[in-house]
């Protein structure tokens, strides 16, 4: 597997190393979407005109698959408006005008803060989980689940497990902490290594304790050896390993799990926790540590601005800051702006509304000037097989693309269309520059729509 996989995927171009993270002052107005995770939308619990304090809950939900959202500035609620989530879907949001005081809400009856790894390792997992849930933590990264969902074993046994005899609920035994970013030049997790310290140890210990993982693996970017992390790992008997993030998409969860543990995550509906592994990004582990040691929900996050801006940079920004402001701080849009992509260049989403806010899910934004925007072509497939060689999942994208193009959706589904992870390697290598991912997504949505009807 590992030798063959060297030839699969694509090698992304090298991008300059951004300078260490720097804080960005809070904006005049924040836009807090009521859904900053994959799951249910929260109900607003504040009204326009109401004064809110920093860290106050502004949206909550009874549903399990939802994470509460908090005010990230103190000030007055202006409106409940609509904005876009990182994937470009409309989502209601609370707009708060900043009064500049940054006055924290008084937490009543809050449990004492934790600051020792040993204490965390003795605390009951449900207690820890409750704190994370109250803090509204979400796994950082596009389509991140609320953290309390991500850390639990699957609720319901899944159909495919019955079919194959995989134990219905496999206990989680491994925690992978990802300090390598799957979609460079968005390198938020790598940048977060600069902040690695006791809080990180606390966060990792808590994650491992909640999930019940014995084995902890910290995946570092190739060629990076932060001394702090090595010490932490040695002290707590955690493993470290290296991975080249430019070898796309091998830092994406399913492939990472395969590489490190040899376990194969069942697709299309499976997740790493189905095979006993939890994968968390480093920024999330840091947030967990902060929540436990400070007793407050996170109000800011690390956010990368990369691409054709004057000064690519990782910022620590308040969540809810419109991306326009962050881009401005990095030198602003190029004269001829082309694309603004939330997420990364390979798997991210292009946006047109620069008021879209930074949320718990977004690791960063990539700006492309008009000149560096590459367009797909309407050319026939030349059957060269480059896409087959590149596909990390082992599909035959050329055939799937043609089937989807001509509306043979069921045939495509039979040829494993639904197993595609939409990584985009096939489109990257295609000499005919066919819009492969577009075709595959279209086919998938058609297949799923038809299956829903039945």
């Amino acid at each position: 597997m590992s030798i063959l996989s060297l030839f699969k995927g694509v090698r992304l171009p090298r991008s300059p190393e951004p300078p260490p993270p720097r804080p960005l002052s809070p904006p005049d107005k924040v836009i807090i979407p009521l859904r900053q995770h994959q799951g249910r939308v929260c109900e607003p619990v504040v009204e326009p005109g109401q004064e809110v304090l920093l860290g106050q809950v502004v949206g909550a939900s009874e549903e399990f698959e939802a994470a509460a959202v908090h005010a990230t500035v103190s000030g007055k609620v202006e409106a409940i408006a609509e904005t876009y989530d990182p994937a470009g879907q409309r989502v209601p949001a609370v707009v708060i005008a900043n009064d500049g005081r940054d006055a924290w809400v008084e937490a009543e009856g809050a449990p004492p803060t934790l600051s020792e790894v040993e204490v965390v390792q003795k605390t009951r997992p449900t207690r820890l989980l409750k704190r994370l849930r109250e803090a509204g933590l979400v796994r950082s990264g596009l389509l991140g689940l609320p953290l309390h969902v991500d850390l639990s074993p699957p609720m319901a046994p899944r159909a495919y497990m019955f079919m194959t005899g995989i134990p219905v609920v496999r206990p989680i035994d491994t925690l992978i902490v990802k300090a390598v970013d799957h979609d460079p030049p968005v390198v938020t997790n790598q940048a977060a290594l600069a902040e690695a310290g006791e809080e990180l140890a606390l966060g990792i210990a808590a994650l491992a304790r909640i999930a019940g993982a014995r084995r902890v693996v910290i995946v570092l970017p190739a060629g990076v050896e932060p001394p702090g992390v090595a010490q932490l790992a040695a002290r707590h008997e955690w493993e470290t390993t290296h991975l080249d993030g430019r070898h796309f998409p091998y830092a994406v969860d399913n492939l990472l799990v395969k590489k490190l543990t040899g376990r194969v995550v069942p697709t299309p509906y499976g997740e790493p926790r189905d095979v006993g592994v939890v994968v968390e990004p480093l920024v999330t582990a840091l947030d967990v540590g902060r929540v436990l040691s400070q007793g407050r929900p996170p109000v800011d996050r690390l956010f990368t601005v990369a691409g054709d801006v004057a000064q690519p940079q990782v910022f620590r920004v308040r969540m809810g800051t419109p991306i326009a402001r962050v881009i401005e701080a990095a030198g602003g849009l190029p004269v001829e702006p082309g694309k603004v992509i939330l997420g990364g260049p390979m798997m991210g989403y292009a946006h047109f509304d620069l008021d879209t806010p930074v949320t718990k899910e977004t690791d960063g934004v990539v700006v492309q000037s008009a000149e560096s925007v590459r367009t797909f072509q309407d050319q026939p497939c030349i059957h060269c097989g480059r896409c087959v060689a590149a596909c990390p999942v082992g599909l035959v994208p050329t055939e799937l693309g043609k089937l989807c193009e001509y509306g043979q959706f069921e045939d495509a589904a039979e040829r494993d269309l639904l197993h595609c992870i939409e990584c985009g390697c096939c489109a990257y290598v295609c000499p005919a520059q066919r819009p492969m991912v577009h075709l595959l997504r279209f086919g998938k949505s058609e297949v799923l729509a038809r299956r829903m009807e039945q």
Partner: protein
């Protein structure tokens, strides 16, 4: 902010540098050593054939697409590449109209009749080559002796092999691999073809499975022939080194190398999956030696490619294993 329009599209927002045109350009670059040797060996007549074939292919594509009111695709260099390959597989002694007809046939009949780029089932260059070989056998066998002061038609090693197995010992391997024997302009000199082919493999324009399959297939079949064929048995080859000399003969002779690196990996007509490609290559290699040893035509490399082209849809059904798929689910 809102006055500036931003582009929105699906991911990925990065694309690789490869285009159809760049593939063809690089393939032509990789053919340069072979062209150079061809022109050096066969002088004016050789250069003439190459130029005529290329020009005729490009002109035919341009005219045919203008006549049928299709978008003109000369710019992607495919016609130029096809014409170049056509010229390289013709003999230097061909009359001027042979490359002209060949180039035009390859483009119009081989490619455009089937819907152009991406649509044709068989390698268009070889389709045209077969048409010429069947229609004008005499002109198609006008092979010159390279580097001679006066051009005269002579027999290629493969033709001699048909009549007399001892050719295996008469022709030295260095003569054969450097192309100092009569043969087609670009297919005779083997080393420059290997050089260009390796470049294409490293650039991943040619998948390594196909050339490897062809070479292994030819070598395996040549050894098999050495063990089983009675006429070869008369040579009394006992040791493996002697039998191996049959392999080096077949790999260096005729059109095998140009087929392995340039004609068989033609993308449209070769399979896309790794095992499919390898089996495709093996098939080409087998066919080549089978035809050379026991068949009626002189060289089997080009027929082998055509036959395996027909098997491509079948070979495409050999799929890689899907990661994460649980058997019995869709």
């Amino acid at each position: 902010m809102s006055s500036r329009l931003l582009t929105v599209s699906t991911s990925p927002h990065l694309l690789g540098r490869a285009t159809i045109r760049s593939r063809h350009l690089e393939t032509m670059l990789a053919l340069l050593p072979a062209v150079g040797f061809g022109v050096y060996y066969f002088g004016g007549p050789g250069l003439m054939v190459i130029l005529l074939a290329t020009a005729s292919a490009v002109a035919a594509e341009y005219l045919a697409q203008r006549l049928t009111k299709q978008p003109v695709t000369v710019g992607d260099l495919h016609a130029a590449l096809m014409g170049l390959l056509m010229g390289l597989v013709l003999p230097a002694g061909a009359p001027w109209w042979l490359p002209v007809v060949g180039g035009a046939l390859a483009v119009v009949v081989g490619k455009l009749f089937f819907g152009g780029m991406g649509g044709y089932p068989m390698n268009p260059v070889l389709v045209a080559w077969v048409a010429l070989a069947l229609s004008w056998p005499e002109q198609m066998n006008a092979f010159y002796q390279p580097l001679s002061s006066e051009w005269y038609v002579s027999e290629t090693p493969l033709m001699m092999l048909k009549d007399d197995p001892s050719t295996l010992e008469v022709v030295t391997r260095s003569e054969l691999w450097w192309g100092l024997v009569p043969g087609a302009i670009g297919a005779t000199a083997t080393w420059p073809l290997v050089l260009g082919g390796l470049y294409l493999v490293i650039r991943r324009i040619v998948p390594w499975q196909i050339p490897l399959g062809v070479l292994l297939g030819a070598a395996g079949m040549a050894l098999l022939a050495a063990y089983t064929d009675p006429t070869l048995g008369e040579l009394g080859y006992e040791t493996f080194a002697q039998q191996w000399s049959i392999v080096t003969f077949h790999l260096g002779a005729g059109g095998l190398m140009i087929a392995a690196f340039f004609l068989a990996p033609e993308p449209v007509t070769s399979p896309v999956t790794p095992w499919g490609m390898f089996l495709f290559g093996l098939g080409v290699g087998f066919m080549t030696v089978i035809v050379r040893t026991w068949g009626a035509p002189v060289d089997g490399a080009f027929y082998g490619v055509l036959v395996m082209n027909a098997a491509t849809p079948l070979l495409d059904r050999i799929r890689p294993k899907v990661l994460g798929k649980i058997e019995g689910t869709a």
